[in-house]
Amino acid sequence: MSVYESRYERLPRAELEQFQLERLQALVARLRRNVRRSREKLGDLRLETLADLERLPFTTPEELAESFPYGMFAFPLREVIRLVSTPGPDGNPLVIGHTRNDLAQWSRLVARQLAAAGVTAHDVIQIALGGSVHPGTTGYALGAELLEASVMVEDPLHIDYQVAVLQNYRPTVLITTPSNALELMRTLQTRRLDPQSLHLRTIVLSRPVPSEERDRLNAGLFARIYCNFGLGEILDPGLTVECEAGKLHVNEDQFLAEICEGELVVTTLGREALPLLRYRTRVRGELSREKCSCGRTGALLAPGPRLDRRYRVREVVFYSQQIESVLARTRAAGQRFHVEPNADRLVLAVEISENIFAKAATYASDPKRELESELLARLGVPAEVRFVEPQVPKSPEA
């Protein structure tokens, strides 16, 4: 497996810190000049060493949402050539802008990840991330093209077509979501199709999976599994590189990662359009600087669960506030609810109230079905609603 930008991926610690200090000082100077909100927060604070980072203010997802859509851009919109959206904490999307250089940088960072997974110019890559709107599609296509691989953005709506794509186009690398990969594995097993008859050599999953699931996919699809860990607001993919030893290295020449009260906090060092200073990712994480056998020097990240009420069902991401606003359109408006963990459908336990059934006579459908169809229409995920006795604790931790 190769190292795409060995110069940066294997920077000795002292040199890496020099890079980080330079870029951080330049970032603070740019933010102070170009972003009003940052200027107010930073005042005339000076950054002399990397240790001074902890004196700098945080940026929260809520601030990004408040400045929707372009309030925190550090470049004029005319220079922003790509806009991608990612779910925001209030249910509205956050807009992430990229300048020409941001895209160039993004492609290099993704190329690092793909090269680590063994991708070369000889590979045919299928990108199937479940919906062409997945922002990762852009990033993977850019990175794969930089490696001069043959890229195919093909997102089959039905698993039959996915199998046909694998048989006909003979991709050697599949970039997909864990749920797609699992479905593919089950389909091959049910149809008694030999995964070795396909040409698939490597699968890059859009997010980390537990090691048992990785082993299962590895055996079931007869391909080497690599996982990505990214964050829509920062960069996804491109924040980390998973090496052949299965460790996630932060691209520390471009991102400064810290752990504050257990939460992963990331500063984008090189991004132009939307630079983020000490962004609270709302993801639990652990960082270590152990030496890795792959030779990369970027800190090792072990991402944990989310710290906010964000859910993922069939790769669709949504926040608790979005469920509240769907409920508000129905008879269950204002009711407390609880999301039960399930990867295939949204299982929602809603507290029952007299109001729901008092009005039942005036509605054609029953409240359960009404709510389920509203959730499907608004969130795009199949839902199963259960009415439960009151006292369901509100605000459960995700």
């Binding site: 040199e15 020099q18 890079f19 200090l21 330079e22 870029r23 000082q25 330049a26 100077a29 740019r30 000049r33 170009n34 972003v35 009003r36 000076r46 950054l47 002399e48 060493t49 372009y70 309030g71 851009f73 550090a74 470049f75 004029p76 919109l77 005319r78 220079e79 300048t99 020409r100 250089n101 160039a104 940088q105 090189g270 132009e272």
Partner: protein, 239 residues
Amino acid sequence: MLLQVRNLRCGYGSLEVVRGASLHVCAGEIVGLLGANGAGKSSLLKAIVGLVSPWAGDVLIDGRQTRGQPAWRSLGYSTVLVPEGKMIFADMTVRENLLIGGYHNPDRALTLEIVLDRFPLLRERLRQPGGTLSGGEQQMLALGRALMARAKLLLLDEPSMGLAPLMVKAVFAEIVKMRDLGLTILLVEQNAMATLQVADRAYVMETGEIILEGPASDLIHNPEVKRAYLGKGAQEPLP
């Protein structure tokens, strides 16, 4: 890293001109330092070699701390500054100018031959007073004089200033050749486009601070580079 500057601050009187700048140059690189007039680029160069006393920060050349050392010691660190306006000795001949550059070089006779092979034009003018050379020739002489010291790190301050476009091209071509010979170059320039075409990386300075760093190929497309040159008035309204 051949040159490492961390958080360097310097100024004149009570006026702070460089306000905490950090940069580095790796061996064999050409690194550009760009910015408008008065951004603090030349002061930063002078502070690196000790012509201006830094107020704070670190300057490491080959890993050795050199901050606070007098300028004449910089040769001991194989570092030579080619100052703005060439600063050649106008009344001395080209040969004398070159030999002065190699004052500490025990093999200066041999080095002189190598330098004259590099700059055949200087060989033709060897006995001519430096002040009678054209602007471009004087710049070549200044570069030749720096080579005489057998420096590893060259700090070039505005080598294209006041030169005709054709001469600018020739000077930049020389700079690339010097890098190919194994020298490491920190190039301070106002001619951003020409610099970004020859540099590996570059920094952009504005009012005493470094506001951008990156591969030269990326910075060519960066609107901040343009803005840094045109000054604040050129700033477009942000959304």
